[in-house]
C-alpha cells in the first residue's frame, strides 16, 4: 500500500521534474523531445539534460535512503547515516584523488573504494561496541579527515581547481549528470540496493541485540559484508555522479519509520523509493527557485532541511 503510493508519487515527481526548467517546454513537446521527434533543441534538452538529471536524482536518492535505513538498522543507532558516518566524504575524497592523479576513467571505482574504506572502518568500530555516540563521533572524525585531505589535494594540484569544484564535491549537485555517468551509476547502485535489501531479514533479528541474533543463526560477518558493500556501492556511485549530498540518508528512513512502522527490512525498500522521490522533488524545486544562471547546490537545500531534523534527533531525550 505504502509502496504503491510511494511509487505513484515518484512517477508524478518524475513527470513534474521533466516539465520544469529554464526553457519552457509543454507536455506534448516534452514527450516528443524524449522520443527524439521534436525540434533539435528540445530533443537535446529533454534527452541530454532533463531525463539524465531526473534519473540521477532517483538513483542518488534511492542509494542514500536505502543506505541510511540499513545503517540505522545495523548499528541500531538513530543517527547513523552515510553522511554523518563519513562515507560520503570518503567517497568524495576517492573521486577527487582519481581526478588529482589523472585517472578520470576510474572516478567512480575510486569513489566506491573511498566509501568502502570509510564503511569498513565504521563497521569494525560498530562491532567493537564503541557505543552510539562513539560511532557518530568516529564518523564525524573520519568525514572531517577525508574532507581535509580532499581540500589538500585541490590545493596541491598543479592546475588548481576553482573553489567551486570543492563546493561541488562537498555539497553535491545534479548539474553535471550525463548518460555516461548514469550508465555506470545506475547498475552499480542497483547491485548495492540488492545487497542492502538482502540484509533486511537479518536486521530484524539484530534488533534484539547481536548475541540473540547470533543465537538465531544470523551470521554477523555476512550481514556486515552486505551492508558495507551495499552502502559503498550506493554512496560511491552516487557521490561520483553528484557529489556528497547530505542528510537525505538520515531523515528519509525516519520519516518512513513514522509512516509505515519500525520493521528494518521493509524500511530499506521504502526508504530507497522515498529517497529517490525526495531528491527528485528537492532538485525540481531548487531548479524552479534558483532560476537560470545561478545554480543552487542540491546539497545546500537538503542540508537546510536536514540539519534542523538532525538537531531534533540529537537533542531528543529518549533514544530508541
Amino acid at each position: 500500500m505504502i509502496r504503491a503510493l510511494l511509487i505513484g508519487l515518484a512517477l508524478i515527481g518524475l513527470i513534474a521534474s521533466l516539465l520544469v526548467g529554464p526553457a519552457p517546454i509543454d507536455l506534448s513537446a516534452a514527450i516528443n523531445g524524449l522520443l527524439g521527434q521534436a525540434e533539435p533543441a528540445t530533443n537535446a534538452i529533454m534527452r541530454e539534460v532533463r531525463l539524465p538529471r531526473a534519473i540521477g536524482a532517483l538513483t542518488v536518492g534511492a542509494g542514500l535512503g536505502a543506505s541510511g535505513a540499513a545503517l540505522q538498522g545495523f548499528t541500531r543507532n538513530d543517527l547513523a547515516a552515510p553522511g554523518l558516518l563519513g562515507f560520503s566524504a570518503c567517497a568524495a575524497l576517492g573521486a577527487v584523488a582519481a581526478l588529482y592523479f589523472g585517472w578520470t576513467y576510474f572516478l567512480m571505482p575510486a569513489a566506491i573504494g573511498g566509501a568502502l574504506i570509510g564503511a569498513t572502518i565504521i563497521a569494525i568500530m560498530a562491532r567493537r561496541h564503541v557505543g552510539a555516540g562513539g560511532l557518530i563521533l568516529a564518523g564525524i572524525g573520519i568525514g572531517a579527515l577525508a574532507t581535509a585531505i580532499t581540500g589538500l589535494l585541490m590545493n596541491l594540484a598543479p592546475n588548481p581547481w576553482a573553489l567551486s569544484e570543492l563546493t561541488y564535491w562537498l555539497m553535491g549537485s545534479l548539474e553535471n549528470v550525463d548518460a555516461g555517468g548514469l550508465s555506470l551509476a545506475v547498475p552499480l547502485t542497483l547491485v548495492g540496493l540488492v545487497a542492502l535489501w538482502r540484509s533486511g531479514p537479518s536486521l530484524r533479528a539484530l534488533s534484539l541485540g547481536e548475541d540473540t541474533a547470533s543465537s538465531l543463526g544470523v551470521s554477523l560477518r555476512h550481514v556486515q559484508a552486505l551492508i558495507v558493500v551495499g552502502t559503498a556501492l550506493c554512496i560511491g556511485s552516487g557521490v561520483a555522479l553528484a557529489g556528497a549530498i547530505g542528510f537525505v540518508g538520515l531523515f528519509v528512513p525516519h520519516i518512513m519509520r513514522r509512516l509505515s512502522g519500525p520493521d528494518p527490512a521493509a524500511l530499506i525498500g521504502q526508504s530507497a523509493v522515498a529517497g529517490g522521490m525526495f531528491l527528485l522533488a528537492t532538485d525540481t524545486i531548487a531548479r524552479l527557485t534558483a532560476g537560470p544562471g545561478t545554480p543552487l547546490y542540491l546539497g545546500i537545500v537538503t542540508s537546510l532541511i536536514g540539519v534542523p531534523f538532525f538537531l531534533y534527533l540529537a537533542l531528543r531525550k529518549t533514544p530508541s
Partner: protein, 241 residues
C-alpha cells in the same frame, strides 16, 4: 533421557581468562542452575554454546543428534540474553515472532499465538515493546525465546533486576517448560531461587566446572566457602570476610 551434550567447550581471551570444560550432559525435562560468582564465566559458557561468541565447542548434540550447521544449532538451542534489548517501536507480537527466524518463512503464527497465550501476554500483544515495564519486557523476551520451540533453552540471568513477582513468574515458566520435556539451563545469582526451582546445578569458577550434581548436595559448605565466599547461618547466607 539425553537433552544437551557437549564433549568440550574451550575459549581463551587474549588478555587471559576463558572457559575450559570437559564433557557436559544435561538431561531432557530438567532445569539446571548455572551458578558461580561474578566473572566465573556463566554468560560466556552460555554464549559459547549458542554460538554468540567464537569458541571451540566439540561434539555439541541435542537429543543424540550432533549439531553442525548454524541453522541446526539455532533451531535446537533457544537463548535468552541477559541484556534486555528490543526494538522500542515494534509490537510484542512482532518481537515474539522473531523467535521463528531460524525456520525462515515457515508459518510462525501458530507458535507465536501459543506463546502469547501461555505467558498471558494477550493484553499487550499489539503494544510497542518500549511502552512496557521492565518486568513485562523480560516476559516478552522470554516469549521470544520460547517461540523458537527448541528442545533446549539457555537463559542468562533471566531474573536479574526484576522484582520478586516477575522473577518468580519467570522461574515458574522455566520450570513448567522443563516439565514439558525441554532442557532448561538457567544462570542465576540468587542461590535460594536455584534451590527452590532447579533439579541440578553446575558450578563455575574461573571458567572451570568445580561442582556438578543436585542443587542441595552441590551447594555444600565447602563450595559456599571457596567459590561464593559465604557461609550458611540460621539467618541465611552470611558473607565471609
Amino acid at each position: 533421557m539425553s537433552g544437551l551434550s557437549v564433549n568440550r567447550v574451550h575459549l581463551r581471551y587474549p588478555n587471559g581468562g576463558g572457559i575450559e570444560t570437559g564433557r557436559l550432559d544435561f538431561g531432557a525435562g530438567q532445569i539446571i542452575a548455572l551458578l558461580g560468582p561474578n566473572g566465573a564465566g556463566k554468560s560466556t559458557l552460555i554464549k559459547a554454546l549458542v554460538g554468540a561468541v567464537r569458541a571451540d565447542v566439540e561434539g555439541l548434540s541435542v537429543a543424540g543428534q550432533t549439531l553442525i550447521d548454524p541453522r541446526q544449532r539455532a533451531r535446537n538451542l533457544a537463548y535468552l540474553s541477559q541484556t534486555r534489548t528490543g526494538p522500542a517501536l515494534s509490537s510484542v507480537r512482532d518481537i515474539i515472532a522473531l523467535g521463528r527466524f531460524p525456520f525462515g518463512a515457515q508459518d510462525p503464527e501458530q507458535r507465536v499465538a501459543a506463546v502469547i497465550e501461555t505467558l498471558g501476554l494477550g493484553p499487550f500483544a499489539d503494544r510497542p515493546f518500549g511502552t512496557l515495564s521492565g518486568g513485562e519486557q523480560a516476559r516478552v523476551l522470554l516469549g521470544r525465546a520460547l517461540a523458537v520451540d527448541a528442545p533446549v533453552l539457555l537463559a542468562d540471568e533471566p531474573t536479574a533486576s526484576l522484582d520478586p513477582h516477575y522473577a518468580l513468574r519467570i522461574m515458574d515458566t522455566l520450570r513448567s517448560e522443563a516439565r514439558r520435556g525441554r532442557t532448561v539451563i538457567v544462570s542465576v545469582h540468587d542461590l535460594s531461587l536455584a534451590e527452590r526451582y532447579c533439579d541440578q546445578a553446575l558450578i563455575l569458577a574461573g571458567g572451570c566446572i568445580v561442582g556438578q550434581g543436585t542443587v542441595r548436595e552441590t551447594l555444600n559448605a565447602d563450595i559456599l566457602r571457596d567459590v561464593f565466599r559465604v557461609s550458611r547461618s540460621p539467618d541465611g547466607l552470611t558473607p565471609l570476610s
